[in-house]
Subunit: 205 residues, 3 copies
């Protein structure tokens, strides 16, 4: 199934972004592997724990842990190449974001939850890996400051749910969501689209 392929690409790409974050903090190799696994598999794990959906993906398929660990170790050695591959990376990350979101929506729907919970499940799967990465590296989560990222996940989730509501066949709904979510993310990067920010300062009286 194509979605599995995309999922594997996505966790590999996410593991690599996690490894680079760990490298920015000068962590040792073990830390690099741990941050990579948390980034790649953390979103799905948070979703599964919150929904009570056991066993977790990596418990059922521990080979995914091997994949993300290897991706992290490879990243250490090819890091100098990373800067040149920056565009490729952003594209893979965009695919990953939408694929994660779709999987999160489907998981919740399969468990019998409604559309609102399904959309939240999609967004959690899409963005929590990155949030956990930033918390572990002691940063303010990036997603709250970057170009449309969480919003792409949110819109992709609702677009997919709308497709299902309109009775589109599952495969078509997935393809359409992947394509339009991917496009939206790339456009957001290209044109620096951002959500409006809320700046509040109550120290001044």
């Amino acid at each position: 199934m194509m979605l599995l392929m995309l999922y594997l690409i996505a966790i590999t790409a996410e593991a690599m972004t996690g490894a680079l974050s760990a490298g920015r903090r000068g962590m040792d190799w073990f830390g690099v592997v741990l941050i990579a696994c948390v980034t790649a598999l953390g979103g799905g794990s948070v979703r599964d724990v919150l929904l009570g959906h056991y066993p977790l993906t990596w418990v059922k398929h521990p080979e995914y842990l091997v994949l993300t660990s290897v991706a992290a170790l490879v990243t250490i050695f090819i890091a100098p190449l990373m800067r040149r591959l920056r565009s490729l990376f952003l594209a893979l990350d965009a695919v990953g974001l939408v694929a994660f979101t779709l999987i999160g929506c489907m998981t919740a729907l399969e468990m019998g939850h409604g559309m609102l919970v399904a959309s939240v499940s999609g967004v959690i799967t899409g963005v929590f890996g990155g949030i956990l990465r930033d918390i572990f590296c002691n940063d303010i989560p990036l997603i709250f400051r970057r170009e449309l990222y969480a919003s792409v996940s949110f819109l992709a989730a609702w677009f997919y749910l709308l497709c299902l509501y309109l009775q589109l066949p599952g495969e078509q709904a997935i393809m359409l969501t992947l394509f339009s979510g991917f496009l939206l993310r790339l456009l957001a990067i290209r044109f620096h689209w951002e959500m409006p920010k809320f700046i509040y300062n109550d120290d001044v009286h």
Copy 2:
């Protein structure tokens, strides 16, 4: 039931404090909504996950997510008014703290746990939303530095359990706990009561 009313007021007030925290960090609207939801519903979620109490509140009642999200968005627009409403806010927050604590205790007792676990469940429900908010915003959790806050939750939990132990009717136990917990928190704010601090510095030899 009155406790449900208080719960709804509490999650609204907590969502607004979360939104203000996100605003202090200049997050975008999506981050504001996420931090608001985590602040309002995070304490109960941590409790439910730790006790294995599924489904979580917001999964069963996704409309609470809508309520907290709307509260967050409203906060963005009325933020300039917030400073004037500061006292009202502290009062609502105090009600919320005690209401959350009560709900946490009851949840554990209904699951058949003993008083020790019930009190911990109450405190987790009362204070973890704020702890998660501060972790997401990359602050040292406030509750460890403020006037009696977690302690009010702790004392309210044991006061309630004592009432039950003394065979008071449930309604009365709830009312008494709400009133005395609320009063204690207001007195703590008014007179700057604080727990003693533990200052340890082992860098100096």
Copy 3:
């Protein structure tokens, strides 16, 4: 059973390291107790939540919460002595690390998981208490920067699994793992063995 004895020593020692961390941040007594409990019992809790292994240890044995809380409060009063007991502490912490790892492996094996998941479960139990402590105190988790720590947990887990695979009796496997893991950690401290670090800086173009 000896492992229970070691477990109790381990959670006491970990609670004390947690209390000292909280003291470094000048937290109040309540924060000290909370950080101590999270440090001592957090690793096992994260493991149990991820594996869906309910009830959690401290829910089943709330007396452990009392033990760690008392240990935290005692720490406040004997903190000035701590510097002299530094070596004893590092030794107890090393015992704890290996004991936690063993318990994590056994828990996963008893649930019927394979060796890969068992080793991950061991490492999570061994190191996540410390990671949570550092996140709550707003530090970059120490374990990614210190001498072999997480690596000792990892090697101990696989050493134990290897012993089982070689059909050694359970008791012997435990003793051998405890001894060699403890020795490895002490040697790592003594000779400042470290994992290689991954330093990545992409801000310079």
